[in-house]
Amino acid sequence: MKKHLILLLFVFTTSCGNSLKNNNFIKISIYNNTQENITNIMLYGNKFKNLKPSEKSNFIIISQDYIKNNAIFTLDSQGKTFNMYIDNTLSKKSYTFQIDSLNIKNRFIYYNIK
């Protein structure tokens, strides 16, 4: 059983590693740098976990094709839904989207990409 688990783990990490070596995939995480809880987060068509202030999500691997066709940042905070069209030209292998501020009136998500 142990051997099967090790084999599975090896196959998984190898294939993930291969995916990342392929320029078509990018790792993305989100960090909540606001004072508010943020829920129902969706970025480039992928769902992320709810984030409390100063909380960071795990990385999610997303394909470039998906990024190109789903360039929208969606989240809920303070009882409002935010939807924003965002940049779809990401060239590095890994990004953290740091949410710095939310403008409720204009539904603008101020974020910084690291």
Partner: protein, 480 residues
């Protein structure tokens, strides 16, 4: 027989769709007076009663706000607690039973255009062709847009007056180029075409490129939204004419379901399948200095005279018919051509007029001259949380730096916790270009003034110690 005829008449009256008319042209083909008329009409649409500051209930006659809020509130529920709620965007490919994106925006533009034609019957919504040549220079596109689109006589003043927060051209690669079109237009299935058009740069590009509210679900607050979506509508029309394949599963639409009321008028139910042909609304798209009006019958359902106004050549034939008792006018600054297939029946009223003074007639509100500059910002939260991000600080840095106010309008104050012998201040715009660079000697506080002329938007402030050539703090600031 009588009963049978009455039933037919009953069905005819209550199934007819409201018609209007317009020649929609690229904004660069508008005359000077058309530009001003459109700009003024947008201002007036925020105050249909013309109450001005004395309006006790400013929202009940503010069409831009009403449409803007509707668009915002129903943008998308995909990731909400109840993703099955009907919404306006991003329903394809997984939820075709809720899809209404192209048809809804067509109805929305038509609704706005009708109110505009109450102000000036010669107005037709122009479009902004955002498709760029391959390898375009973003800076050149910005310069062109600032010189032709976002000018004082046209879309420019709304940024400050309505606090839109535009950040034009900041997303450098956002606009589409010609290479982005084939993979959309070569689709023969309507939902595949619609999904690609919605999600890719011919639609989302302008939203990202203009920035501010245009980038968000509140985008319909920016008048340039309507010029952009009129172009998206034209793209749909360009696809539909050869394919004749647009079809929806839904038979009504949000807002246009017979229940929604604005300004005392309940919006009639619109079946999206009834408006897949742009000519249903009397809409003709002109380009390259030619408006081709054909395959159309004047009905005067909405306006007592159907006006078609265009600076360049209006050519009409090929089954363009003005029936007995109907009223139609063509007006051009340059040329009107009537070709075989054009028919103005006996008893109809048709005028072909050359606009010799090149003036669309900017008077509005029953002869009262239109007023500009109705400063009427939407509810903007000036208490925006200060945005701070700290890049790597020098390891031995103990200087605490405070900058305020943020957002700013004219100047920024910078206070240092200790004196810096040579302090370098740089301000970058969001394209990474240095727009201000100064060095201050032996300072503990700095007043950066003369910032009033900066465009509204996001900037980056960098404070460095010149002696060690390392940034002490990098901070994002907002200009209102």
């Amino acid at each position: 027989m009588k009963k049978y005829c009455f039933s037919i008449l009953f069905i005819f009256i209550f199934s007819s769709i409201t018609f209007s008319q317009a020649i929609r042209k690229e904004y660069k083909e508008m005359t000077a007076s058309e530009r001003i008329a459109l700009r003024d009409a947008f201002y007036q649409l925020r105050d249909l009663d013309n109450d001005g500051a004395g309006d006790a209930n400013p929202n009940d006659d503010d069409l831009i706000n009403d449409l803007g809020d509707f668009h915002l509130n129903f943008f998308s529920f995909d990731n909400s607690a109840d993703p099955t709620q009907p919404d306006l965007h991003l329903n394809l490919p997984d939820e075709p039973t809720r899809e209404i994106f192209l048809a809804w925006h067509r109805a929305m533009i038509f609704e706005l255009e009708q109110y505009m034609q109450d102000i000036n019957p010669n107005i037709g919504m122009p479009y902004w062709n955002t498709i760029q040549p391959n390898g375009f220079d973003n800076n050149a596109v910005i310069a062109d847009a600032l010189a032709t689109l976002f000018t004082t006589d046209f879309m420019g003043p709304f940024d400050a007056d309505w606090s839109l927060g535009r950040n034009i051209g900041a997303q450098v690669n956002a606009l589409p180029d010609v290479n982005d079109l084939p993979s959309i237009f070569n689709q023969t299935d309507f939902f595949t075409f619609s999904n690609r058009l919605e999600r890719r740069s011919p639609h989302n590009g302008a939203h990202r490129w203009v920035g501010g509210v245009m980038q968000t679900s509140a985008s319909a607050r920016d008048p340039v939204f309507y010029l952009h979506h009129t172009f998206v509508d034209k793209l749909w029309n360009d696809w539909e004419v050869p394919n004749q394949n647009s079809s929806y599963i839904k038979t009504d639409m949000l807002r246009y379901d017979g229940t929604y009321t604005f300004y005392g008028v309940t919006k009639p139910l619109i079946n999206p399948n009834d408006i897949v042909d742009a000519k249903v609304y009397g809409t003709f798209y002109a380009e390259n200095q030619l408006a081709l009006l054909e395959d159309y019958t004047v009905s005067n359902t909405y306006n007592s005279t159907e006006n078609f106004y265009y600076q360049y050549t209006i050519e009409s034939g090929n089954n363009f018919t003005i029936p007995n008792t109907k009223d139609c006018k063509f007006e051009s600054v340059n040329e009107i051509l009537l070709t075989p297939g054009f028919l103005s029946e006996t008893g109809s009223n048709f005028i072909a007029k050359i606009d010799t003074d090149n003036d669309i007639n900017t008077l509005a509100r029953n002869g009262v001259e239109s007023k500009m500059g109705v400063s009427n910002p939407f509810d903007v939260n000036l208490n925006t949380q200060i945005i701070i991000f700290n890049e790597e600080l020098a390891a031995d840095n103990v200087t605490i730096i405070k900058s305020f106010p943020n957002p700013f309008t004219d100047k920024v104050y910078i206070n240092l916790s200790k004196e810096i012998k040579s302090c370098k201040i740089k301000i970058y715009n969001m394209m990474g270009k240095v727009i201000r660079s100064e060095i201050y000697e032996n300072v503990t506080s700095i007043e950066l003034d003369g910032l009033y002329d900066l465009s509204n938007g996001v900037y980056v402030l960098e404070v460095s110690d010149s002696t060690i050539e390392k940034p002490l703090i990098v901070r994002r600031l907002i200009k209102l």
